[in-house]
Chain length 224, copies 2
């Protein structure tokens, strides 16, 4: 079945304490985003890939591609006001039936196994999201107090959130709701139960300088 | 106010895929546990420190101390059947009023600032635990389905869980309950609301070989 990939790279980089948005920072000599795109082509060279970027960053990105001789094919799409709007812009370019991977641009360490688990489960059930068990104790706020919760009931959610194209296109025709926290919550509101598959621990979201250091360690170990 | 430290190092190391329990693995040339103990002496050279170890590991530990010339004072206490029992054994050695830090042996990267936030808040309110906001989307199982939850209401809990000595000694006189997930949940069951303070992101719990690599990166950056 045809594979579509939407990579969402909307970050402005404020949490990194840098002027360069985090998806463009270098990891082992190459911008984070190039590693991320590479992962999908390593998994399936025939995938069709859309990169959603803030309009103001498009020319910076094409300069980076020139500088690094980055030739993997991808169509650049302008981002929107929120993640929901950015993903919707990406989905607007998808034609025909297939499986759609929606992935954070700042997760360059997703493994081939995670991608394949998502693909297989989404083919069977309509969708799949990679998750990991929560490993630390967890507390929940309730007004001014907090209480411990049973962490074995909770899962930490990664991307790519993965869907049959029809399911996710329908779901994103709903009006925007500020309660949409990720793509799965959009599909869920449209009535689809969500399938969880195992992610990989290295598949971290790079949002701080510390994360970038950690990603460097993982990258050198040749994850996948 | 007097500071007591109970370091709990009960791990058998099965998740590391190694025969050596994880608290003894080397990090930058020294067993993890020595780094952990060092953090507390760097914070306060006058603290009184108890190390809770499985009885079977005591001689291995004293050999390690000899080998590494490790001279920081600490009293070794035998562990119990569960974490609750291990901590209770440690608490049995505490005499007089003070603040008790209960800390995982495999968290060698707690910062001086985290320790001080715990100490100050526990002096004021009776207890304090270091927490961090949850940064990934979170889902909760409900029977066979799962649903997204508002992650802004959740916090990930680290150690040292920190208490006025009287409060925690009283709390641990309760009978064991399998629902005790950490020391705060024991105090909570005894009726004490828990104070949350900010932890530090490097204060990870080393439970996998990957965690050990990450800790190495943090260690080289001289956290705190």
């Amino acid at each position: 079945m045809k594979k579509f990939v939407i990579i969402v790279a909307g970050g402005a980089g404020s949490r990194m304490g840098t002027d360069i948005p985090k998806q463009f920072l270098e990891l082992c000599g190459k911008p984070v985003l190039m590693h991320t795109i590479q992962r999908f082509y390593d998994y399936d060279p025939d995938c069709e890939l859309f990169l959603v970027l803030p309009a103001a960053q498009k020319s910076f990105w094409s300069d980076l591609c020139l500088k690094h001789g980055f030739l993997l094919p991808h169509q650049v799409v302008s981002g929107g006001e929120t993640r929901f709007h950015s993903v919707r812009n990406g989905l607007g370019h998808i034609q025909g039936d297939g499986i759609v991977f929606i992935h954070d641009g700042v997760r360059p360490l997703v493994s081939r196994e995670t991608l394949d688990r998502c693909f297989q489960a989404a083919q069977e059930t309509g969708n799949a999201i990679p998750v990991l068990p929560v490993t630390e104790s967890l507390r929940k706020l309730d007004g001014r107090r907090s209480f411990s919760v049973d962490r074995s009931l909770y899962f930490s959610v990664q991307t790519p959130q993965t869907f049959r194209s029809k399911q996710i296109l329908d779901a994103f025709s709903q009006p925007f709701d500020p309660l949409f926290t990720d793509d799965a919550s959009v599909a869920e509101k449209a009535g689809h139960p969500i399938t969880m598959v195992e992610g990989n621990p290295e598949n971290i979201k790079i949002t701080t300088p510390t994360d970038l250091d950690v990603a460097g360690v993982f990258m050198k170990k040749h994850v996948d």
